[in-house]
């Protein structure tokens, strides 16, 4: 559970730090005092205050939940690895190619995000389509890797390491598929002429953050699987 605890400790430290900032020196019993300023997260130049879109915070909270999920998988995997009868995992080399493709899809999305900031609609389209294609290729690549493994006689029930491999890659792929759904919505919005640029920027930004995040998770998982 070490990894999960490290993650939780970092998260809790962040929450506590934020709370201290929000609550220290506040006199809740005082009616109508400077406590009102806290509402604006400590920003006193109220004119420049731009509230965080709800959906961005929502994604942030969701990513915390997903982190907890994968941290628990990693914890379970490492706990299991320490037992004497652990048999190491054979990773298909295809995973290296897939990793490259996933990096590429993240790069494409970053490109689209930058383009959206510049209001360059055509470039956003190119970037987001490129990313979509790479992501689909990644999923197909993962399936191919599964095929290679099972063709070599490594099935999900063969040994615990294989079980973890299939389970973790499947969970990761499901999160990617969920992201593809959001990406599809952004794409359809991009082709509707009525949709405004700020709306598209937000969509692209959320997708890009999610993609980078899943890439990071994948790199950690992949490193873990290589390390047997």
């Amino acid at each position: 559970m070490t990894y999960t605890l490290i993650f939780l400790a970092i998260l809790m430290a962040a929450v506590v730090w934020w709370l201290v900032k929000q609550t220290i020196n506040v006199k809740p019993w005082a009616a109508d005092s400077a406590a009102d300023a806290v509402r604006t997260d400590g920003v006193h130049g109220l004119g420049s205050y731009v509230p965080l879109p709800n959906i961005k915070l929502g994604l942030g909270v969701f990513l915390a939940v997903v982190t907890s999920l994968f941290a628990l998988f990693v914890s379970a995997y490492t706990i299991r690895m320490e037992y004497a009868d652990w048999r190491p995992l054979i990773e298909p080399n295809l995973l290296w190619v897939n990793t490259g493709i996933l990096v590429l899809s993240s790069v494409f999305l970053q490109w689209a995000w930058n383009a959206a900031k510049r209001q360059d609609r055509a470039a956003v389209k190119r970037g987001i389509i490129g990313s979509g294609i790479c992501t689909v290729a990644f999923i197909i690549g993962q399936l191919a890797a599964w095929n290679q493994l099972s063709a070599a006689g490594h099935f999900i029930q063969s040994n615990p390491a294989n079980g973890f491999f299939y389970l973790i890659t499947a969970t990761h792929a499901l999160h990617i598929l969920g992201g593809l759904f959001a990406l599809g919505k952004t794409i359809s919005r991009l082709w509707q002429h009525s949709s405004e640029m700020p709306e598209i920027l937000l969509g692209v930004e959320l997708c890009a953050v999610y993609w980078h995040y899943l890439l990071a998770i994948w790199l950690i998982l992949f490193a873990l699987m290589l390390n047997t």
């Binding site: 559970m1 999960t4 605890l5 939780l8 998260l11 809790m12 929450v15 506590v16 709370l19 929000q22 609550t23 506040v26 006199k27 809740p28 019993w29 005082a30 009616a31 109508d32 005092s33 406590a35 009102d36 300023a37 806290v38 509402r39 604006t40 109220l46 205050y49 509230p51 965080l52 709800n54 959906i55 915070l57 929502g58 909270v61 969701f62 915390a64 939940v65 907890s68 999920l69 628990l72 998988f73 379970a76 706990i79 299991r80 037992y83 009868d85 999900i156 029930q157 040994n159 615990p160 079980g163 973890f164 389970l167």
Partner: protein, 597 residues
């Protein structure tokens, strides 16, 4: 007290809370079935949770019948006794308490108390309920599949949970695990809403330190749930794969019914770690909303500011953080390294510190308060007694050396029922008596409420207090019948019969509550907007019950915390959160001097 700015200028921070665009349904179905209004969703959650909770209540009575009068009832055999135990525990902890506190009270109270029109993602909120309902239906379906529901105990420990000989290993355990996974998915959608709404949708002036403690409790419980439920999700999925695809995550190589199983190399201990990594925070997922709600009930009905508000908030946060590092105290008998046990015993005892702070503060809130002993207050005070009782036995069980002999006896059953079953349920009742007037516009009947309270409160003591003695005798839990066991004194069977009679009386007393809920809806006394003379925003709405959008044309502006009761020199003994200081009569200089002294 000189800092109390009673004559401060009428300052309102800029309107950074945007008016929210609400979805306005046109049909009856859109309003009450596929509703996106948090209040309707709350009631849907509440009714579903209470109905499934009644099933669990009936199951507990059947279990008690068997224990109190063994060999009397033919319809209870050892297999379905275990199924009843399992379903009772699982339903009560997850499908009733978690769903009711977070899905029910969370949905109803968060938007109203923070001054929002609705949850920030109403559509996701609606889906959350329907996924929860699906989880409940799958759970109910598991009772009717061949072999019946699982009888593995609510902890579902492998290997026995999916090995031959345990009831319900055909379909029951599969549906149970699917139902849990669904519940977690549904909860995550709701939980995202609660967090983002509390952080983003607070109205003008509602700083974090002006939030009622109810919101703090539900907020922190949601944080815990979002982080802890994935552990249950992971273990449910892995066990499902073990059961369906023959993987060996949790299943060791073993001989079952004389035959070598195909499993090889799984670790049952891994499951225990994952399960309790969820299971312990789960205790606080249920307890923290109860702590928050009870603080507000005590303050309102004692007409006194909550004692130590900031400490209460920090205690909630501290309990939440600590609850992640105590899980292995459920596993002392699993053969762990003694240093490991020492560590977890220490953290377990440390968590008693913030908890005790809360208890002292509740008692000090009552101290010299102008206590109104109405039904919500009775339940709130009852909670304090029961919670202290259950909490103190927790100190015993938290120590390894004392836990070892008491583990898996009725002492444990008594402890966790007192601390996380009866205590939160008393708060649930108190909260329903408290907020029912806002939800329906009518008061619940006082006499029926008092009958309900006294039978429930005293009755639960008659049930659980004697169980401590049974535990000392070494009576193991989860047993169908005890036969002629040597260490059991003859009187322990009499005690079991007495407990059963008390349990039946308490179960039937709930009929008073249900009748009250039902008849008061039609014939209760009209409540008016603020029958308890409370300060929080939900009592200041234009309509009772509040309409879609909660507040009228304009969102309220908050000028003070939620605990301005019995403020010196004020006209009334309460000042609602949305009353600005300039609207109050300014105190004279002499009175001001009095306040400062």
């Amino acid at each position: 007290m000189s800092d109390v700015a009673h004559d401060a200028v009428d300052f309102a921070p800029p309107a950074e809370v945007e008016e929210m665009e609400l979805y306005h349904p046109k049909t009856w179905i859109g309003k009450y079935v596929w509703s996106q209004d948090a209040k309707v969703i709350a009631i849907q959650y509440g009714i579903t949770a209470i109905l499934i909770g009644l099933v669990a209540l009936v199951l507990s009575v059947i279990m008690r019948l068997q224990l109190g009068f063994p060999h009397t009832f033919d319809f209870i055999d050892p297999a379905n006794y275990l199924q009843f135990v399992t379903m009772h525990g699982m339903i009560m902890v997850i499908y009733l308490l978690t769903a009711l506190f977070l899905g029910g009270f969370g949905n109803y109270l968060i938007p109203l108390m923070v001054g929002a029109r609705d949850m920030v993602f109403p559509y996701v909120n609606m889906i959350s309920y329907w996924v929860y309902l699906a989880a409940v239906l799958v759970l109910v379906a598991s009772i009717f599949v061949p072999g019946g529901s699982t009888g593995a105990g609510w902890t579902l420990y492998p290997p026995q949970a999916i090995s031959a000989g345990t009831p319900g290993i055909d379909g029951g355990i599969i549906l149970m695990l699917i139902s849990l996974a669904l519940f977690i998915i549904g909860f995550t959608m709701g939980g995202l809403n609660y967090i983002v709404t509390v952080l983003q949708a607070r109205t003008r002036g509602m700083s974090l330190m002006r939030l009622p403690l109810t919101v703090w409790g539900i907020f922190m419980a949601t944080v815990l749930a979002l982080l802890a439920f994935p552990a249950l999700f992971v273990s449910a999925i892995m066990m499902l794969l073990d059961r369906l695809l023959g993987t060996s995550f949790f299943m060791p190589a073993m001989i079952s019914l004389g035959e070598q199983t195909s499993y090889d190399g799984g670790s049952p201990l891994l499951f225990q770690h994952l399960f309790w990594f969820f299971g312990h925070p789960e205790v606080y997922i249920v307890a923290l909303p109860a702590f928050g709600i009870v603080s507000d009930l005590l303050s309102t009905h004692a007409r006194k500011a909550i004692f130590g508000y900031r400490m209460m908030v920090w205690a909630i946060v501290a309990i939440g953080a600590l609850s992640f590092v105590v899980w292995a105290h459920h596993m002392y008998v699993s053969g762990m390294n003694p240093y490991f046990g020492f560590f977890f015993a220490t953290t377990t005892l440390i968590i008693a510190v913030p908890t005790a702070i809360k208890v002292y503060n509740w008692v000090l809130t009552l101290w010299r308060g102008n206590i109104r002993l109405n039904v919500p207050m009775l339940f709130a005070i009852g909670f304090i007694f029961t919670f202290i009782n259950g909490g103190l036995t927790g100190l015993f069980l938290g120590n390894v050396t004392i836990d070892l002999p008491l583990s898996d006896t009725y002492f444990v059953v008594a402890h966790f029922h007192m601390v996380m079953a009866v205590s939160p349920i008393l708060v649930v009742f108190g909260a329903i008596y408290h907020w029912y007037p806002k939800i329906t516009g009518r008061m619940l009947n006082d006499t029926l409420g008092k009958i309900h309270f006294w039978i429930t409160f005293l009755g639960t003591y008659a049930i659980y207090f004697p169980m401590h003695y049974l535990g000392f005798e070494g009576l193991p839990r989860r047993y169908f019948s005890y036969g002629d066991t040597e260490f059991m004194s003859a009187s322990s069977q009499d005690l079991n019969a007495a407990i059963t009679i008390a349990a039946i009386i308490v179960a039937f007393a709930q009929i008073f509550f249900l009748i009250n809920l039902f008849t008061s809806y039609f014939r209760g006394k009209l409540a008016g907007p603020n029958p308890w003379e409370a300060t929080t925003l939900e009592w200041q709405t234009a309509d009772t019950p509040p309409k879609h959008g909660n507040f009228g044309e304009e969102l309220p502006v908050v000028y003070r915390w939620a605990y301005d009761y019995s403020v010196p020199n004020a006209d009334l003994d309460y000042i609602p959160q949305n009353v600005s200081p300039s609207d109050l009569k300014k105190p004279t200089a002499a009175q001001q001097g009095e306040i400062e002294n």
